[in-house]
């Protein structure tokens, strides 16, 4: 398990846990980022991250990306 900010570009990951306040968590959940969900890291350079979740591109700031804990999953493609 590692913070999203440490993932590599192109990696597929599964959300394990969202640390941080419940407001932020609700917000992410409404956009589809919730534990158990798989997503693709479209771009990540040790900081801001672009995710592909349910076909949408979601940009997360550095602080946010550090608070989402994920595990890599084997790419299905």
């Amino acid at each position: 398990m590692c913070p999203l900010s440490l993932c590599a570009t192109g990696e597929r990951v599964k959300v394990e846990k969202i640390a941080g306040g419940c407001e932020v968590r609700r917000r992410l959940e409404a956009m589809g980022v919730l534990p158990g969900e798989e997503m693709e890291v479209v771009s990540c350079h040790c900081g801001p991250v672009i995710l592909n979740i349910k076909g949408c591109r979601l940009g997360l700031g550095c602080g946010m990306a550090q608070k989402i804990l994920v595990t890599p999953v084997k790419s299905s493609r």
């Binding site: 917000r27 956009m31 771009s43 801001p48 591109r57 979601l58 940009g59 602080g63």
Partner: protein, 679 residues
């Protein structure tokens, strides 16, 4: 909006096309753009459904019924409290997995009958997807209409369905075919029973919705319990129920509820949406563009490059026309004056027309081509999808400066006009971030200030006009960031909210929509020139001609005397003559008036105006004047917007005070420093 009007609300995720549909239904021209957060307040319009006038309300986008920012609260409160007769939920049909979440919540809320509008159906087709609309509609028990609002497709059908639903009236919405898992349902049922014991609780929302929200720990709904006499015992039961259910599920209930909703939606999408391979092409093109534009290292230089490009375009292309329009106005002025003289009209009338109207309004109007191209470039930024990337790329720097990535958007919108820029700050979730952004947005050079720069830079730095003006724009950005840093550490300590922002796919805007949008904004500029600026200029002309018998625009006239009172304040910054003071004072009404006033007082179109200015200013004092015009006191409309959006006179007055002091100090530094360096 009257009490028994039929009101249809447009709700949906940001950027799903609500405003485009609103415009198509009502014939309005509300702003559309390819980034989340274009619409920040509710807008009403009328449309005709089968001969019946109904009110349509366009709302800011929301992802769920839990509101985080002010614009989201506007939308949520309208749906929950104002109870529209019908909600048209607009969805980006190419992305149902996410868009259906809000629809599902609205079905659970049962605030009003729903119509689902599957917009962007053109993109669905392009991607080779197909959606079984009938099957889905039947299963959900809700009418579904497919539209491509941008291409005006499906709007008639939508009107027909809306008309049908409106005539049906408020039949009880159908039961939704969605159940949570067994132990969750058990908890919900138990809670509904308990809530039923206090009938006042279920007045404002259906008991099932209330129960679900309480199980989710939603603060706003928990607050409703406060007033109930049964509060303590219900809370106790709620705690027990939650604990038991969570034991059964294995993790926290709130997440489980969200997850189950998504589970249901996934099932729907699997069953009713057919995708074909290779459909991600479009998005991956977006990703490729993002590799460059949203790159950590390249992002910033590219932003400045784009900015520079905008100016290049604006000046090289727009500037080309200015010269001709100016000649036109000068000729017009001469002709009009000659005509009045030939007809033995009074000489004051000739002066009013030539000095006042042509000299004043004309000197502002000559900049219309430049402003048109500026708006065109800003529309391009807004429609292409770059705005959201800008917010994303700038987040880190903005953080360092005490701002938020999303502050970028109000700043760029502010280049067009500060007022919508200040409104755009509504999308910032954290009130502190929002107020700082509002306070610094007036430092963005708006289109109304551009004529001042063009006039002065043209008169003194003709060879480097573009560079000088670009420099002033950059100065505005730098000052905004520095001031934000200061405000942050003085008034608003604390962490900014983290950035979470959807990045919509890049879309190539059509030339037609760009031109229309630029034309529309330009039209407003011209309209302003014809009204506010016209009146101000006539006022200046009158005051410059009174008291009777005084030489026009001399120091003995009323404006001359008033200006002379303030002129000494401007002495240390290089332009201690009364004309400058008068222009700056009237400029507080609207920044275009600065040039308009100078034009009236020096009684000439732009070319001779430039000559008059060249004789009064030096290059250094001209620079000081430009910087002062950028910073000192924002225009009346902007001050009003600051007051309205911060809901306090305190911040409005503070903005006036700090910009005045900052502007004067900068002008002082430039003038004195410049004279010291280049004596």
């Amino acid at each position: 909006m009257k009490k028994n009007d039929v009101v249809i609300a447009l709700a949906g995720n940001p950027n799903s096309g609500k405003t485009t549909i609103f415009n198509a239904l009502t014939g309005s021209r509300q702003r559309v753009g390819n980034w989340p957060g274009v619409t920040v307040e509710r807008k009403e319009g009328k449309t005709d459904l089968d001969g019946r006038q109904v009110t349509v309300v366009d709302l800011p986008g929301i992802y769920s019924l839990t509101a985080n920012s002010l614009d989201e609260r506007v939308a949520r409160d309208f749906i929950v409290q104002d109870r529209p007769c019908l909600i048209a939920v607009v969805l980006d049909a190419s992305n149902l997995e996410r868009n259906l979440y809000l629809s599902l919540q609205l079905m659970e809320l049962k605030a009003a009958p729903l119509v689902l509008v599957f917009n962007m159906i053109d993109e669905v087709e392009e991607k080779g997807m197909s959606i079984d609309l009938e099957g889905l509609s039947e299963l959900l028990g809700i009418p579904i209409v497919a539209t491509a609002a941008k291409k005006n497709r499906g709007i008639q059908q939508l009107k027909k369905v809306l008309a049908e639903q409106v005539t049906l009236g408020a039949a009880a919405p159908p039961a939704i075919p969605f159940r949570y898992r067994e132990n969750t349902e058990f908890a919900i049922e138990r809670l509904i029973q308990r809530l039923g014991e206090d009938p006042s609780l279920s007045q404002s929302s259906p008991p099932r919705w209330l129960a679900i929200k309480l199980l989710e720990d939603d603060r706003e709904y928990l607050a409703r319990l406060e007033k109930s006499p049964l509060r303590d015992s219900i809370l106790e039961d709620l705690g027990v129920l939650k604990k038991e259910t969570e034991k059964g599920i294995g993790y926290d209930l709130e997440t489980a509820l969200v997850e189950e909703r998504y589970g249901f939606i996934n099932g729907l999408v699997k069953e009713f949406v057919k995708k074909s391979w290779g459909l991600e092409d479009r998005l991956s093109l977006s990703d490729k563009i993002d590799k460059v534009l949203a790159n950590r290292l390249m992002g910033l230089p590219i932003f400045f490059f784009l900015l520079w490009l905008i100016f290049k375009l604006t000046f090289d292309v727009g500037g080309f026309f200015v010269h001709y329009i100016d000649q036109l106005f000068t000729a017009l002025g001469n002709q009009a004056a000659a005509l009045i003289q030939a007809l033995n009209g009074p000489s004051w009338l000739a002066s009013l027309v030539e000095d006042g109207i042509i000299g004043g309004v004309g000197s502002v109007m000559v900049f219309v081509p430049i402003i048109f191209f500026l708006y065109l470039a800003i529309s391009l930024l807004e429609e292409s999808g770059y705005m959201a990337r800008g917010a994303f790329v700038m987040d880190k720097i903005m953080h360092a400066m005490g701002l938020h990535g999303k502050s970028f958007i109000p700043m760029v919108v502010g280049f067009g006009c500060n007022v919508p820029g200040i409104m755009a700050a509504r999308t910032l979730e954290n009130p502190k971030d929002r107020i700082i952004t509002i306070l610094i947005t007036p430092l963005m050079s708006c289109a109304a200030r551009l004529p001042i720069y063009v006039l002065f830079a043209g008169a003194f730095f003709a060879k480097h006009q573009g560079t000088v003006i670009f420099g002033i724009y950059l100065l505005g950005i730098v000052l905004a960031m520095l001031m934000a840093r200061i405000f942050k550490s003085v008034f608003f300590k604390g962490e900014p909210a983290p950035l979470i922002m959807e990045l919509p796919p890049y879309r190539l805007p059509s030339a037609k929509s760009l031109l229309l949008s630029a034309w529309h904004r330009c039209f407003i500029f011209v309209q302003k020139a014809g009204t506010v600026i016209f009146l101000a200029v006539v006022a200046v002309w009158c005051l410059a001609s009174l008291p009777l018998g005084v030489e026009y625009a001399s120091q003995e006239s009323i404006v001359g005397r008033v200006g002379s009172i303030f002129a000494p304040l401007l002495e240390p910054i290089g332009f201690g003559f009364w004309q400058a003071a008068v222009a700056l004072i009237f400029g507080i009404l609207a920044k275009e008036i600065v040039v308009g006033t100078l034009g009236t007082l020096y009684g000439a179109g732009e070319e001779t105006l430039a000559g008059a200015i060249a004789s009064q200013f030096t290059p250094v004092s001209a620079l000081a004047f430009m910087v002062l015009s950028l910073v000192y006191i924002p225009c009346a409309a902007t001050i009003g917007a600051v007051r309205k959006e911060t809901n306090s006179w305190y911040w409005a007055i503070f903005t006036v005070a700090y910009t005045l002091v900052l502007g004067w100090l900068l002008a002082f530094l430039i003038y004195q420093g410049g004279n010291f360096l280049f004596p």
